[in-house]
């Protein structure tokens, strides 16, 4: 196998990465190696470094985030959860690993608490209720523009005087600011990212400028229309059940030009 020496020499690092990403569907040692093979021989160490720096949200880490969001909410509500509802913020339910389900499981809100969880299409059941708290749940926010656009469509079905929150597992500061300035939603965020978390930002301390230049070229070579991620976010965030579209293309794209490793999981189910 081409690159055999490299993979033999770096077997330990690859095994460590495999452990790190083990909760991502279909991940394997071969898959990691095939992804590294997208890079030329001299850049494979850099490829390993990228995987090492990926901000990976394992299922356990997402559970922790869900618990944190819930704690923030309880504090704000003085533990009065009598009229609190949760709603998935328009994300597809993939492989049963719906963020709402994880949120419910992480916070013991299953069984008799299932009434609290609504789909967007069920919000109109609440439209005439007064004094409710509605917490939308989202896993990742980049620029916040997609949230704004979506809010523009669904704000009209949100109950009139509801206290509305957006609970987010991970978000860029600029996105949070954008949402808070332009919508009625108050943000409860577990992990906040800033400029230094952007792969190609001068303030990112993990990669040298020459490494960033090399990686930009690889991003451009993937054939993606958004090589540096949606909204030019340059994110290197991957969640155990999906990859945000703000994440750089070398991590998320799977096509004839590029052997993907963390596909976005597009489907209707």
């Amino acid at each position: 196998m081409p690159g055999g020496d490299f993979f033999r020499d770096h077997s330990n690092e690859i095994n460590t990465l495999l452990t790190k990403f083990q909760s991502f569907p279909d991940i394997s040692k071969t898959k990691i190696e095939l992804w590294i093979e997208n890079f030329s021989d001299q850049d494979r160490e850099l490829a390993l470094k990228v995987l090492d720096k990926v901000d990976y949200f394992s299922t356990a880490r997402i559970f922790t985030a869900c618990r944190d969001i819930f704690t923030q909410l309880k504090t704000l509500k003085n533990n009065d959860l009598s009229k609190v509802y949760f709603c998935n913020f328009g994300n597809p339910a993939n492989s049963g690993q719906h963020l709402s389900s994880m949120f419910a499981a992480a916070n013991g809100l299953t069984g008799s608490n299932s009434w609290r969880f609504k789909q967007v299409s069920e919000l109109n059941d609440l439209s005439l209720e007064r004094g409710i708290t509605l917490v939308f749940l989202d896993d990742f926010v980049g620029t916040g523009n997609q949230v704004l656009d979506y809010w523009g469509g669904i704000a009209s079905i949100v109950p009139q005087d509801a206290d509305v929150y957006l609970g987010i597992v991970c978000a860029f500061e600029e996105g949070i600011q954008n949402i808070q300035e332009n919508t009625e939603m108050k943000v409860l965020c577990h992990e906040r990212l800033n400029d230094s978390n952007k792969l190609f930002s001068p303030s990112n301390p993990n990669f040298t400028q020459s490494e960033k230049d090399i990686l930009i070229n690889y991003c451009n070579s993937t054939g993606s229309r958004i090589p540096q991620g949606y909204g030019n976010c340059q994110a290197i965030v991957v969640l155990s059940y999906r990859t945000p579209n703000n994440t750089v293309s070398i991590l998320s794209v799977q096509n004839e030009n590029w052997n993907g490793i963390f596909p976005r999981h597009h489907n209707y189910s």
């Binding site: 328009g90 523009g152 469509g153 669904i154 949100v158």
Partner: protein, 321 residues
Amino acid sequence: MPEESENVKVGNLMHINVLDIIPNPQNPRLLFDEQPLQALEKSIREVGILNPLLVYQRKKDNKIVILDGERRWICAKKIGLDKVPANIIEEPSPLENIIRMFNIHKIREDWELMPTALKLEVIIRETGRSSDSELAQMTNLPISTVKRCKILLSFPKKYQELMLRKDPKDRIKTDFFIELHQVLNLVEKNLKNVDKKFPRDKITDIFLLKYSLGKFTNVVHFRKIADMIRAIKRDLPIGEVEKKLIGFLSKDDLTFNEMVSIGEEISEKTSLKRTFDKLSDKLEQIEVGSIKENTQLFNSLLNLKRIIDKKIREITEKKGG
């Protein structure tokens, strides 16, 4: 918050601090066309706001919420006016607010039809009125939009969710379901064998799968299937249509174009049969005397016979072979 907005008097025309006012969260018109906005701004600069805003004070936080006049308010903020004239009314009930917002609501994009449909559902539920014309009158929506909304509401929630996804790439267009709806109805009404094997939800799932797999890309193609089913009434053999449709629904990899071409093939056969039948009737009715005197007509008839004989020979040989 300034004193004026802490306790505004209902029923009065007041001048309210621009910064104390917030847009109505129930109004989905978050984006406004730039050109009309510029014209309005120019007019306000020249003569001020002649038509006061309509606002109410929200009980939960005392904020002044716009019911009507968001564009005027945007311009006033842009110009830097301190205060705007506004008529204050009582906080409307959620239902009143929904109906009022409908009247100034303009759907920006196709996908916003689903949220609109959901609001309409609230009105139907709360008022008990469901006729298209009544709803159109109440909401100021065109009847065609009301009809489209009602079609969307006829789908189970799990499908409504697909139209409400945040990422446009993941979102299924409302047109998909509107076009599919007529196919589902036609199948249910006309193709009992298909309906028995593939209930509505199953057909919907299959079409969604084919859509996600790129087996067809244009939802208008649903109309071709609908046309094919409707053609049953014009002698298209029902068994053949059912067989083809079941075949299509059973195979994930069969493309929409293949289905459409099958439909066209069936339609062509039906159309040919109709032509033959018409010609036979016509020939039966012809008076021999009228042809006898007309050489041109007689030669045409002879030519027709030659062609028919040739085709029948070919068909017989093919069948024999």
